[in-house]
Symmetry: C2
Subunit: 652 residues, 2 copies
């Protein structure tokens, strides 16, 4: 039994899949169906070109409301030499779109006509006069829409492969078709496997996880134009899985077997494929997502492709994008969608294994004219990364990394407009930033925040990488917040220091405090494990400041070197039993149902470069700082005080 996968390069894996499908006669449009032309036809793909059956318009038509005439009868007309035409004999009223009457070859708009009764006075009904007076000649074919002006019979209206848009439906109708031939939608089965999986809404115990990959994949497939069957969760049992695969093979075009695609003890996907058909690829040199399986299931005389999709959510999403989307497009006969690409400047160094094509999710923001890409967490299990991402970059095989400041190409999920409405926050983590994001979202702004600690935030401002930074840096000498640090680290950047919240810092501890922790003094006890914040975090500086005041040597604290980047990270470490306590804010304790020992009050400010402070982009932010509903919601969180909110503390 092999433990290791043999990873092959991505282009080779795609080539293997293509070759297997070609030899099975499946590398083509799968089939077509005839559908009625109605609104739900949008999104379908034409399997045959549309050639016009009729012309549009199919007659010469009036392009205005007015009187149809023969142009010759108006010749010589001028303001001083008006021409009078008898209605019915020489002029006929027409509405826009009416066919041009016999013997007429022009239309005079009603507003250019004087309608007269039989006595030569203004007619009561200007559209039904006895005669009309005109004061200008018209040239033939004025205000006439010609037969075929829009579409001429026999011309190509739309090529095969067109993904139908609303306006295409109109053009097809105008060219005389009521039915169209479109590609049949590929039928795709998703089989989630894993004894640890629990359906949504089920009861979850340690070791269980909710099965949601199949929902994400199903939604992807529908967007790409496929039909999908979500099979029930199958436990890790080779016979049960085999049975489901065979069942799926009988009436689907593609099977996606989710998880179990690696080579662990309970990874049965490869064995199932070997048993029921042919295993073609096991392992692709991509990151995340390398344990991919490609095979063909033999079902009676048919061959059905199967893809073993890894279980981590980012991997499964990526593997579907890489292999399934182009396959569906091939089967529909259209081009797979391509994300817009943007150049951006990388804000942090990335190191990548050179053997893989690595797909790295990034946030993207625009500060002034600069477009910045910041890599997100690269853990394959972190679905929130996909939610936060604005795009991804690809580090191809052979590339070992990219330095900060270098240009990268982002495959962007966002429109330019999205980027222009995005506020980039950086610096210290505070739970109220989530509330701020929600309130800003109602005001047509997206808030993207990166937690790099207060000091990291100031340095990012210096590099021009954010619109504001959250900061609560205590200066040990002066006891003052932020301003001494701004003088030191941002000497050349004029900023406003804007009050945001006062908040309580204290020890987060396990519920009911089983180890009897009373304060910082207890941290040197050998049975107490501490979880720290990262260097440069305001909370870390606060902690170190008080340790020094109390004469506690950091080395005497177990866990001092174990660093988390957020208050919630500290809380989670304690909630999971990884540590006994950590310094943080009260709201984080409440979030994970921990106890809290209040210790210090501090001020958390927003540092806003002057160049952004008065921009339209940030206007809704400043409005919110004075918004009573926002203030009330923040104040309702434990340990918060909104008294400083919105005060311009100082312009530096």
């Amino acid at each position: 039994m092999s433990i290791y996968l043999h990873d092959i390069p991505l282009p080779d894996a795609k080539e293997h899949l293509k070759a297997a499908l070609e030899s099975a006669g499946l590398w083509c449009v799968l089939g077509e169906e005839i559908i009625q032309l109605y609104e739900n036809a949008y999104g379908r793909v034409l399997s045959q070109a549309i050639w016009a059956k009729v012309s549009s318009p199919n007659y010469n038509a009036s392009a205005m409301d007015g009187f149809a005439v023969h142009a010759e009868n108006t010749s010589g007309g001028s303001p001083s030499k008006p021409i009078i035409l008898a209605v019915d004999s020489f002029a006929k009223y027409v509405d826009t779109g009416d066919p041009l009457p016999e013997d007429c070859n022009a239309v005079i708009p009603i507003e250019n006509v004087e309608s007269l009764d039989k006595d030569g006075m203004s007619a009561k009904d200007i559209r039904r006069p006895e005669k009309i007076r005109i004061r200008a000649a018209v040239t033939p074919w004025t205000h006439v829409r010609f037969l075929g002006e829009d579409i001429v019979a026999s011309q190509l209206v739309l090529p095969a492969g067109q993904v139908l848009r609303p306006e295409d439906l109109g053009a097809i109708a105008a060219s005389g078709h009521t039915k169209i031939k479109v590609s049949r939608k590929p039928r795709i089965a998703i089989i989630p496997t894993g004894t640890e999986l629990v359906p949504l809404g089920g009861e979850i115990k340690p070791g269980n996880i909710f099965e949601y990959n199949s929902i994400v994949m199903a939604a992807q497939i529908k967007i790409w134009g496929g039909e999908v069957t979500r099979f029930p969760i199958t436990p890790d049992d080779i016979n049960l899985i085999s049975r489901q695969v065979l069942k799926a093979a009988s009436n689907h075009d593609l099977i996606l077997l989710n998880a179990g695609s690696s080579a662990g003890e309970e990874d049965f996907s490869a064995k199932v494929v070997e048993k029921l058909g042919r295993l073609i690829v096991h392992g692709v040199a991509i990151k995340p997502g390398h344990p991919v399986i490609i095979g063909m299931i033999i079902c009676d005389t048919r061959q059905v492709p199967i893809i073993g999709v890894p279980g981590y959510p980012i991997s499964s999403e990526l593997v579907c994008k890489i292999f399934v989307e182009p396959l569906i497009a091939k089967w529909l006969g259209c081009r797979p969608s391509e994300l817009p690409r943007k150049h951006a400047q990388l804000t942090r160094k990335i190191v990548s294994p050179s053997g893989d094509d690595e797909f790295i999710q990034v946030t993207v923001g625009m500060v002034g004219e600069k477009i910045l890409a910041t890599p997100l967490s690269r853990g394959a299990g972190i679905i929130s990364t996909l939610v936060r991402a604005d795009g991804f970059i690809i580090l191809s095989r052979g590339i070992q990394g990219v330095e900060a400041g270098q240009d990268v190409i982002v495959h962007s999920y966002r429109s330019q407009a999205d980027l222009e409405f995005t506020i980039l926050a950086i610096g210290s983590h505070d739970i109220t930033l989530d509330l701020l994001a929600q309130f800003l979202s109602d005001r047509n702004r997206r808030l993207t925040s990166a937690n790099v600690g207060s000091l990291g935030g100031l340095l990012a401002l210096r590099r021009g990488e954010a619109h504001f930074a959250g900061s609560h840096l205590l200066d040990p000498n002066s006891g003052e917040y932020n301003i001494p640090y701004i003088h030191k680290y941002l000497p050349d950047v004029p900023v406003w220091v804007v009050g945001f919240v006062g908040r309580e810092q204290g020890l987060l501890i396990e519920k009911k405090n089983p180890k009897g922790i009373a304060g910082l003094n207890d941290l040197i006890r050998p049975d107490i494990i501490y979880v720290n914040r990262q260097k440069g975090a305001g909370t870390r500086i606060l902690f170190d400041y008080h340790l020094a005041l109390m004469g506690i040597v950091p080395q005497s604290i177990t866990g001092y070197k174990d660093e988390e980047y957020t208050h919630l990270g500290v809380a989670a470490a304690i909630a999971s039993g990884r540590a006994d306590c950590g310094l943080g804010i009260a709201a984080a304790a409440q979030a994970l149902d921990l106890d809290f020992i209040p210790l210090f009050k501090e001020r958390y400010d927003l540092i806003v470069p002057k160049v952004h402070a008065q921009s339209e982009l940030l206007a809704p932010l400043f409005d919110l700082l004075r918004n009573i509903n926002f203030q009330r919601e923040v104040a309702s969180l434990p340990g918060y005080d909104v008294e400083p909110m919105g005060n311009i503390i100082v312009e530096v």
Copy 2:
């Protein structure tokens, strides 16, 4: 009865609509509903933010297949000093995702472990050994996914207003939700009116047109997130229309009354709105689409907004985009979509009425690094314009035009990838270009062609505005095709002259030749009306050449100055009775069921600048010129000869 609309500026019209909705309490999310979280939830809009109910993972989990250990028990391990741990007491096998056992704080991947049986030999089942040997110490929490690594309970997962993407569904599930609150879909009624309208598939007589606007609008609305009811066609009768409007008002959020929004004799929309409620706007200064109506219908105690949408297809599509899309977005609580904007160079001068915001559809192509925008026909009735368009530009009120060569901003329907795969053809019109487009489409290329005549094509190549030009320019002195013109007009552009087709030119005449036309000599007869091609067209040059040979003075031909831009345009003019005959190709006669008198044979070449001739973009074109299926299809058209196809006639 007013004939004229009072056009108000677009921003004012939008403000009026907003004010009316605000005072009716309708300028907000219309309502919410609770739905199950499953794949069809994508595309819905969150009406409430999602805050995490549980953490993900909700326990510390193994990140690898391997053995869970307590890190302390591995300290001191090294290649030369291996450490042996008894399985069960000090090491436990875990699969990826398994919870970390009690008292363990690290995982050693199975590939870094020697599995031993009780005698110290390699274990048969490497996952169920008696003991393991390791040759390196591990640090605590290695290969462990912490509780909350992805999502920490209480954090903001997604803000209200989020349009759900597949990955969002995963994140919502991971954070413990099985149901979500989303905005109710606005219900929109579309009432097509017009006595001249015929439902698709119905019988069409002169004066009738197929009703398809409602299909286009319905598809637009579904894409924007609304629900739609398409009402049956209602004839132009104020009582019948009023009845349908009241019926729609009883259970819809918005009524779209299509056509009849102008002030013609049979335009009842404004009167219906005045009768059943309040007419707020009649006429907006936009082009196309100015006869817009905005009003409120009173139905019991409810107010229901109504928009009178003009009847021309381009107008109706635009008016929906301008007024309906933002309204649906408002009612859903999300941002309306915005098209990506691209800078482009305008290829032709545009003149625009300065009183209107004009929306001009353009094709967009990339030649080398240059992005070029070419205005399409601006007739509001020409739906094929929308099908051909790659985007639009806006000439705002007060702007009277843009010169050729100037920079414009295109709101683009196409992705960058689409543009990169687009071949721009320009020059002479030939019916086989449609066939070429269809064959290229199968080969992942889009062909966009502009008909500006052979000479216009050469001039466009000189300006670097196309990848190739179709040309059939006969030099009267040498009797040679194209090459003398290339020497004259493209002295500095190295090109390949590539053979395409030989074709027959002749007189297109009405079926059965009722006027007994026999040849060019008949054109001087006073009862014969000719339709000409535009100056610079190869066919025009051919015509003028033969007139000169025959000593016929152009002024003696009635209709000589009436110009069409394509062969099909000439054919349509004859088919509709606008002219008796015109010079053109046999296929155009066949397309519109005309008779044809063959007169001349000519050669139609493709002129390809050398810089493009060997590009990857054009490779499929050159392949096609040697493709037997393509040749066969062209040869099957009347009057075509494919003998020259694909020959490189000369490199100039």
